[in-house]
Symmetry: C2
Subunit: 209 residues, 2 copies
Amino acid sequence: MTATHPDAAQAKPRRTRQTPSVRRQDLLAVTVSCLARLGPRGATGRAICREAGVSHGLLRHYFRNPDNLLLETYEQLCEQLLVWMTDAVAASGDDPWAQLRGLFEAVFAAEWSSADLIAAWMAFWQLARSREDFAEVSESFNLRQRALLQSVVGRLPQGPATPPLADAVAVISAVMDGLWIELFLSQARTPADRCVALCEATARRLFAG
Amino acid sequence: MTATHPDAAQAKPRRTRQTPSVRRQDLLAVTVSCLARLGPRGATGRAICREAGVSHGLLRHYFRNPDNLLLETYEQLCEQLLVWMTDAVAASGDDPWAQLRGLFEAVFAAEWSSADLIAAWMAFWQLARSREDFAEVSESFNLRQRALLQSVVGRLPQGPATPPLADAVAVISAVMDGLWIELFLSQARTPADRCVALCEATARRLFAG
DNA sequence: GAATTTATTAGACACTTGCCTCATTGTCCG
DNA sequence: CGGACAATGAGGCAAGTGTCTAATAAATTC
């Protein structure tokens, strides 16, 4: 997003001898929006290039094939979301309840809970079903996300009837995912702030003292 | 499953004529399995016919087009799941807790919580994003499912700290959906009976007295 | 047993997609 | 400055898909 001269619009892809990262990143971003708007069926290599405003021949120049572009997009998305969540926790001070709330707010922040993004996410879930490489990325992300959640939940002060940690994490995780889906299916029915509130209420109930 | 003459089966005639309703139902069933195994991208009209063992021209004889086949499959699936859930509640006696447990067990029964079926379900969710007709089916199903859940949850005896009905329903529904997804992503990590137990524990906690 | 209906197949058409190859443009370095 | 080389475009080709039409064979009817 550096300022470029109007006539130098073409100079966007700075060419380094190594990796043309800008154009590449551009294609990755377009892939997400394409996946969200057209679904997995419409998000074809040519469609992505069309949307990105480049010729379809270019895809092959940066990625081995369209599937590989999808996979890399997925990997990047997972990485970004993990960083986003981890940062939110880290920025919420030392109180575990504040951290948990920060985590919820991060997940349901507008940046990550737009119906478009969730649609892309679900497209990847599906690809993970039928493709081994996507499944690996998905599994790795799940484990890491679960670990993050557990590290926060594990620090909450336990109440008299608090369930085993694994159960608590599973329930909280399920509520988050379920509300995420709900948000996806009907943005209006369950606004994001209500999702955060319901998540927190569920956690409080699990750790009530 | 109709009885065929042994010599007819042995000769493997290229065209085995079927009752319209049978063949139609056959195509609908194959569509689900195709969607599950190949994902939304692979579940093309021709692939479905291939898997069903009929020529691709036949699809048009029973359905307007492949999309229409998908839509009807979705409608049928929704209808069946609703009946399945409603029956489970009805067969659980009059105690609301028993009914709720019956509902959970129905949802996570092997018939409906196989990864294949959930995969098909998610494919439909995605189609609902980009297609109006699919969205209508999805919305209608959600409302009816929500109404069923609410009718059961609304009869539970309230505890001192029970949240508003709408919140309780939203949380329980979210946990169900979330665990469903979890089941889909990793069949091994969260077995069905554990899903049922977690759902029930969550409900008990909401209505603890 | 012939006539009619209809489930079913086969094939053709236009179109899209993924893969590939070659031409062109712009940039960098000697 | 001019060659080398990466970034990009354009187009061809085989394979797959959806739609349509015409030809077959099984079932039904008279």
